[in-house]
Symmetry: C2
């Protein structure tokens, strides 16, 4: 039997039947896996049956069709339901469905883009809706196409603040092609949710945030159908279908019972019988609305700002100006900022390309998530805030790596060198955080021309790239137009008789050069390397320095853990060679307020501190 | 002239005068500093004048009085206003006020507990209200005293999802001794906020979250006074005073103007004249309400669970059981969980000590913030969620270190060894994140008895301690009652002729022992160290191993960056000695779903992978 919605509208009974099939398949595949979340799938099965049958517009044969709707499972643990839908839509086979959670299978415990019909990874709750907001923004403001974004949410995840960042952003932006479907099954992982089946409690909150709220019995197929119809007819605001459902619906031994989260049903064969047996319905999903073509902003020649050697400029300013120039060259570049564009200097881009600038206000999680949604839809997003405040969105960065997302992030106001504002505003762990991200790139330029070149390189870099910028002015030391390949470094001082090598990046490069000058005047030749590419580090240069100078001194405006010093040490952690004597200079005491120079002095990472450490390292009497 | 509220209620005019004094002092101290946020202080000056004069109940001479109210500046950048209040209250001198933002001053750019009247550091927006919720919970459920918690919030920070986690938690808990005062001055850092002066937009949201909302003109002293009176008379729900204000109020050159954020006013002398000149009012703050004594839960003997060597138990279970036992011994221990108590096993504590257990639902930021608030009020909080999801609250952890907070955090479900759930649920960066925290302790036990001992040690540990636990069962290898000092390690295999040392922790300890057995059978003696204390690492044992065996192999269920391997390398980063040959084994590819054993195998951190790596390290042919 084929359910099809292309000509005749499938009836309510057919949709009810499909709902049962989705349940049966969720039960079967999780039973075969010995783990998984069938009960969380069963509560939402009727909702997804109606969506798949009558409302979703999607070319299953061409997941990259720019006219496709997008469906995000914010409650990623309901992956059995998603995979059952894909089977019903003919995207995957019945056999593949049964590989759920096995080694090598694309059907992971939580959805990832290893499946071509999945845009982004989910599984950390509270992320799918914010990402969906990014997709809806792309549809409304960038592509300017009528496709819709559908997000299946759980009720437990409504406790996450990031969901309310999403409700706020979408409500204010009036994203009427975005619909959240909330599966209010009353039960979280360990018991009842805060509001259980008090749908009105949720409705009050969502209405207050500017959404159209449609309450429905999530197992009344006709009512669900009407709810979707209301959602698609809503204009000027996003819509949410608040569906009262029962977890484990359809199988008495688990339905609406505590202690049944995240495990196969106890007797799968009996459950399948109770659900009416295995079915083999297929759905021909509606064709996308192919009205219009995706809007494209024009490309143009790249005209990067150039800085005179010897001038002074902050790397954050160079970042902003380069970004504006890049935006003129590439129509696919978009920029997001967390209400600090005057500090990060993305204001230059905002002024030049207002249609491609997204003010996210002080909501770093929503900002990062929107960027993830935009890159999934073929954009090249850059997002910026203070380096310290990326720690606010780090779970989203972590999940973006699971999403195989290509993102370019900038953190300004790095380190103690910001000065008087004190430790709450100082990014002192950002290098460590971004170095842990799988497949990441971590860059830390020391002058304006270097910054500009790296910004351009980031646009074509796969994975998550992070650029660290400084607040204060630094001297321009490289001529405009020089290239700074990712994975490279620049040796600023060297001689055949160097007794040690100082590795620095960003603000400490200039201190290191000054320290080398002092040491030279004392007859101690020191090599200085500008390690602007912290990850990947220039291993060849590190090894050569170790071989030739025997002593390595690393200097960073960062906590001792996980930054430049560890990146240098990492080169020797393959066991292939003994490591030379290495000393790490970093920020070791909690800073307070002081001028930038006083801060560098107090942390011992100014020229004087570096020179002292170098002498001690050579004397064999450090610390 | 002295403004006093102990007998006669100070009049409106006096409060208006004090408001002007607070503005003048904010202007003066930021002008002297050459930086700071006078305009953000001036908008809230009338609000704080009324609070300080008539409503705050606080013994300035004894900031540790348990009956004191608490005042948190969630908009920490308005520190000049706070310091001006402290001067007016006689806590600091006029001279000290003028040290604002100078090297060595307690008056930092953003408030920190270096000032005894400041409970917690603020400055990363969106954190003060969630921390205030923790204080109000302490008052209502632990201390059971009538003190109040007041939180001054900015309007910009209402974009942070964490604020809505706080509104949700406090509203649902009915914390009627909590009052938020929102300074709606319409202007954020870089321009207008999303809702500007649309107080109704905020009011709808906060009402929907169960708060009593009081809208007011924040410069109408009489109206502000009535608003506070309404707030303190509110029962059964928290209250919020939504105050329409003007940024830079009182100085025409900056009042309600863009581009005047975060900098001294242009002409301070003229501004002070415009504000009516320097004043020298003092306020005698109302005495605390000394009704009652703080409730204390009883202490008792400590009776830790004991596990038989050779039995199998998950360290997460041992954590939960030890925590329950600790709760019986210490009445000051409280526990918070993010709706995963059945996974983290804090459910044992919840069952044994329900009055001291706080269900925070899936809101990790609010959970961490509540713990920060509770430790500021003399409690010993433990908080737990999946290791991966601590990344959600990391900005709060970062700020907790600035707060000099003593916190005990547990992350369960660490590493690829969780198995089928896949990468979204795997904590693979948690060791790196927590190692970057200033003054932190990072522990990773491998068996149940070791876990229990470390849980007890954490209770007395200053700073932020983190315990990593595993999902699956591991064999018990240590007898009950053995001690595992923080900073120590256990050498599990050793001989005088060891050719290398394997450093492992948690799940990899058991794999390392098995690898050593395999190597021994091939005639390769290998030392095995259980490095359960990742930070501080047992440097002496690391050095001895390097000296005696020459080759070090580290093995961790974690990304390569920032974890155990880097902790071992860190020992050699003082430059005092050359580094031996070191190889780090870690998780290098993005995992997917598979069984725990398959995961360890795929990552090359099982016994076979360790033995292979050991042979290659000794052969000098790694990788």
């Amino acid at each position: 039997m084929a359910v099809t919605n292309t000509r005749t509208r499938p009836g309510l009974e057919q949709m009810a039947e499909l709902g049962q099939q989705l349940r049966v398949d969720a039960v079967r595949c999780s039973a075969a896996a010995g783990s998984g979340h069938p009960t969380s799938s069963m509560s939402a099965a009727d909702l997804m049956s109606v969506l798949l049958t009558r409302y979703l517009r999607y070319d299953v044969g061409d997941p990259d069709d720019p006219h496709n709707d997008h469906l995000v499972f914010s409650k990623g643990h309901a992956s059995p339901l998603l995979y059952a839908m894909l089977r019903a839509a003919g995207a995957i086979s019945a056999d593949e469905l049964m590989t759920y959670r096995r080694l090598g299978s694309r059907l992971e415990g939580h959805p990832t883009p290893r499946l071509p019909w999945v845009d982004v990874a989910t599984g950390s709750l509270g992320q799918g809706l914010p990402v969906g907001v990014g997709m809806a923004l792309t549809g409304a403001r960038l592509d300017r196409l009528p496709y819709r974004t559908w997000v299946l949410c759980g009720d437990s995840e409504l406790a996450e603040g990031s969901m309310w960042e999403a409700f706020e952003h979408a409500g204010h932006a009036g994203l009427d092609h975005l619909t959240a479907i909330v599966d209010v099954n009353r039960l979280g992982q360990r018991g009842p949710t805060r509001h259980q089946w008090d749908l009105d409690a949720y409705a009050r909150r969502m209405s207050a945030f500017g959404w159209r709220v449609i309450e429905v019995d999530g197992h009344d197929i006709a009512a669900v159908d009407r709810a979707f119809a209301q959602a698609v007819s809503t204009e000027g605001k996003p819509s949410v279908i608040l569906a009262r459902t029962r977890k484990g619906r359809g199988v008495a031994s688990v339905e609406d019972r505590e202690g049944k989260h995240g495990k196969p049903v106890p007797d799968p064969d009996e459950a399948v019988r109770e659900l009416g047996g295995v079915r083999d319905l297929t759905v021909r999903v509606r064709e996308p609305d192919r009205t219009g073509t995706p809007h494209r902003f024009p490309d143009g020649p790249l005209s990067l700002p150039a800085y005179e050697v010897g001038a002074k400029e902050a790397t954050r300013t160079a970042f902003g100006r380069a970004l504006a120039a890049l935006g003129g060259a590439r129509g696919d570049v978009v920029v997001l900022d967390g209400e600090v564009a005057d500090s990060t200097r993305t204001e230059f881009f905002a002024d030049a390309h207002p249609e491609r600038f997204f003010e996210c206000y002080i909501a770093e999680q929503q900002m990062l998530a929107a960027a993830v949604g935009m890159q999934a839809l073929r954009r090249v997003p850059f997002a910026a805030t203070f380096a310290a405040f990326w720690s606010r969105a780090f779970d989203f960065v972590r999940m973006a790596a699971v999403s195989r997302a290509d993102l370019r992030l900038c953190g300004s106001h790095a380190g103690v060198s910001i000065g008087q504002d004190g430790p709450s505003q100082m990014g002192l762990e950002d290098l460590a955080l971004f170095r842990t991200v799988h497949g990441s790139t971590v860059l830390y330029p020391c002058d304006a021309n270097q910054t500009a070149d790296l910004v351009v390189a980031m646009a074509d870099r796969a994975g998550i790239s992070y650029l660290r910028t400084n607040r204060g002015d630094t001297p321009v030391i490289y001529p405009a137009g020089e290239r700074f390949p990712i994975g490279g470094s620049r040796t600023l001082r060297r001689s055949p008789v160097d007794e040690l090598t100082i590795f620095a990046a960003g603000v400490t490069v200039h201190q290191a050069v000054e320290a080398a000058n002092r040491l030279a005047s004392e007859g101690v030749p020191a090599r200085v390397v500008d390690a602007y590419s912290v990850k990947p580090i220039d291993a060849e240069t590190v090894r050569a320095a170790a071989h030739e100078t025997g002593h390595l001194l690393t200097v960073e405006d960062h906590w001792p853990e996980g930054g430049l010093g560890d990146a240098v040490l990492e080169v020797f952690a393959t066991g292939a060679e003994p490591v030379p004597r290495v000393r790490k200079l970093a920020v070791r005491d909690m800073p307070a307020s002081a001028t930038p120079d006083e801060q560098l002095r107090a942390a011992g990472i100014d020229a004087r501190g570096i020179a002292e450490a170098a002498r001690a390292l050579l004397d064999g009497s450090p610390d």
